[in-house]
Symmetry: D2
Subunit: 293 residues, 4 copies
């Protein structure tokens, strides 16, 4: 098994056209590029991958193909979260068979479950395989809010080894860090990576890592070397790029920028709209300035 450390790109899913199938060639090319980068691995089939706009068959095919292309050269985390636990369970078992190194899932969303219900869910889901499991804390989209104590309880479930923490509450995060010093804590907001590291994150998982992998790794290196001026300067450049992506919509912007970099990604599936000329021009300008050649 590969080690669960460092920085993971949250992989987007390329499509042949707007209503079309997964673009397998582009997928292979993107995986190849990332596997040979300095990132530690990939987080596959999550929010960035438009997972909730894919059918179960497509989610399964995506997980399988990435594993085959990666072929053990990089650490792979399979995201299997869904409103429907049964679907999550099937994807988790598939991921284990396909050779993934870890499983992760956003809490089941839409219905407002109590914490005890969520705890039982994760206990069940993490028990579907023998793989290490990462809780995914993402209140802005899941609508599920946890205290540090509650996340610590989730960390104590069998197989659970840590958390992908995409949450602005760094006070709670630092409490969690002290409560569970051994947990693997990954920061999920690319634009505050340095803040997350300073409060105790071990690494990060993010969508913009796809387009600026070297800068992310360089932030980490500067941080660990105690060169905070360099780290801040790198974070500032990252954020200038991310601001432009947020303005256009992060996932559509990411696919546009990857296409521009030579790997045709297609548009996002509806309901995501398509970027207009102004949005593309703004992204071009940001890319010219902030994406190193």
């Amino acid at each position: 098994m590969n080690d669960l450390n460092g920085y993971f790109a949250a992989l987007p899913t390329p499509f042949t056209d707007r209503q079309g199938a997964i673009a397998e060639g582009s997928l292979d090319d993107l995986v190849e590029r990332l596997v040979t980068s300095h990132l530690s691995g990939l987080y596959v089939g999550g929010s960035t991958g438009e997972a909730f706009l894919l059918s179960e068959q497509e989610r399964a095919a995506l997980l399988r193909r990435v594993a085959r292309t990666c072929a053990g050269r990089s650490t792979l985390i399979a995201h299997v979260g869904d409103p429907d636990p049964a679907l999550s369970g099937r994807l988790a078992r598939l991921a284990a068979e396909a050779g993934y190194d870890a499983v992760s899932a956003v809490p089941p969303f839409y219905y407002r479950y109590g914490f005890e219900e969520i705890l039982r869910h994760y206990e069940w889901l993490a028990g579907q395989t023998d793989l290490p499991f990462l809780i995914y804390n993402f209140p802005a989209l899941s609508g599920v809010h946890w205290s540090a104590d509650q996340i610590a309880q989730l960390c104590d479930l069998p197989n659970v080894v840590g958390v992908k923490n995409t949450c602005g509450d760094l006070f709670a995060f630092e409490s969690l860090r002290r409560l569970r010093p051994e947990a693997r804590l990954f920061h999920g907001f690319d634009e505050t990576l340095l803040a997350g590291l300073s409060m105790g994150a071990d690494g990060g998982i993010g969508s913009t890592y796809n387009i600026q992998p070297d800068r992310i790794v360089a932030i980490d290196a500067a941080f660990r070397a105690g060169d905070m001026d360099t780290a801040r300067s790198l974070q500032a450049d990252a954020n200038a790029l991310i601001e432009a992506m947020v303005a256009a919509g992060v996932i559509p912007a990411l696919k546009y920028l990857l296409t521009r970099s030579g790997i045709p990604m297609g548009d996002c599936r509806p309901p995501f709209g398509q970027l207009d000329a102004d949005a593309r021009a703004a992204l071009d300008a940001a890319a010219d300035r902030y994406i190193p050649a």
Copy 2:
């Protein structure tokens, strides 16, 4: 086609056991009971029906079986909302073939789309069939917030005839009423039905209608007769029951109360937990007092 007026029970889905299949006999019995009540019809496959915990095959089977059992004796609205528009489209077309009278859908949730993206989505989805379409405004669970003007724009889409409005903002609702006098506006919070009617609702759609259909129809009758004392008294009794259901969890409580009334519904699927003895006792007490024999 049946008329889209009055009061519709949001149908729960009975299961044979906690991990089990749809209980077809119970489903038939519940549909039969509701079809022969004074309600106008059923809202099938929505939040109350645990739609997001069903597979696509189960959602399709549920829609088909209810239509066959109903056999045109009642007005049927198919809920087809999902994070994945393609799935919604398939269910909408299936509903049309199965003989439904109308289609409805919660906006696609999880990702935060802009209003223009949501508008295009509904235009596409409502155009998948020739059936009348009801927008579903449910910000508490969908996370999607609309102004009165925005809902009015949605009402102008081809095939859209109205709104299931499960939203506490009655100022916006009354504005919508004036903006679109011809729209069919259904109030979605059972506990404030009388408030919704007083601000211009045409009828209602709700989960507790399954267990108190006569009281709901009586609230409407008293309201239309101008007997507000009776209407308020009926609403008060409804709310005493609903309070007990909210305390236990509305969908689990509804299934328990229906089971108690003679139609075995089974538990909700996980992640929903099971009612403990205290919760069941509290519901028994509420039912003894507030559900007429």
Copy 3:
């Protein structure tokens, strides 16, 4: 003592000019007009009265002058809420001496107190005089959120007789109605008055009552007569006017419309801005249509 029933105008405060003093002549004229309307009384020195932009001396002078002008012809409620309890206490005692019929206060805001702290505060404040006391539930501005049970506890404090409820949660409101059938419950959102009445409100307190007192009283009369069509039509007209006021800012709009009706109110104090020509034109158009001559 006058009776605490019916409809109360939340009185705005006229100023001689933008940085100037309270315009006593206009104040007298407005009080005179309202006292001789069909409203039950006045709610003096509250949010609508720009209380938090007045000095303590001005708040005291305002309370005194209104009482003298009213001279027992109408029921007077003094609002004494403030972040500083000591100031609230002084104003409450002054109100009692000045002949007010009741005292009311928004909970102390800014700091986030626990419910027990708020309860002790109201116990103390309501005990500063022998007058009946109205709790003011206004979460949107105070930031203080209460459950129905908590409001019921506040209603049980000595001297507390009821609640000014400016809160969109009509489920909680109806629960409170059943928990405390004897409490005087006043609806505080003019735009949903009919919804509040249908869920059990006894009357209302509102800022737009100043400019449409007859319509408010007519809504009540139609509601009590069971003529819901008339009631809804009146509420619709009220809301068309209120929409225009909300667009301009309710308090500045109210002062503009009262000035237009013959009582010079001056502008609101800063930080409130002044209405521009477009805002005034929109209010003129709304007034021409929705304020009866």
Copy 4:
């Protein structure tokens, strides 16, 4: 004028007893202790100082006495924010006369002003003196939410030199840092100081600085030396203490801990409640462990 850099304790206000006056001796002692610490100065008359529970006379007396005791040995920032701008203006002018080095104010709260209204307010208030002015961004208590662009606009007003930023949105903060490289940006949440520094804060202002001044200064020193392990360890200790304070209520806890350290602070004024024996015991335990002798 003293320089506006480094770390400032948000000064609490000691009282002689629960309904009593400002305890001048304790105030002098606390100021003396802080002035001779390694902190840069004091932030006087703000939220921590229970400003909104003081009369105008008390706020003025507090500002004057602190200035007299400090006697130019430390940098003094006067907080003059209030719902009432006129009061803020009087306090600002008084602060200038009393020898303060800077003025700061939370935006006027309770009413929901538009940004343009807030901008005009700050323009006016910052113009009341010739002193440098710090905007205070504290959405959790003020209810006022600003984008990075809006804060940048506020920074461009005459006399405005920077921001006390007590806000969890570090993405916006970093954007502001790039938009206004020359602005003095102070981090306001003690528990995330290191995160704020890593995203570009120049220093900090906080209430727990009163009880752990050396640790705060040590966090800064470690950060600037690039010794992030030490910085994180110090932040972890700070947070363990802060967690205990949050559980008890930060301001009451701060006064208790200062009293315990030898300067009698009295209780907070009502509506703040008093600490019970359990809360005091928990604070004792935290202090024994995390407050250096």
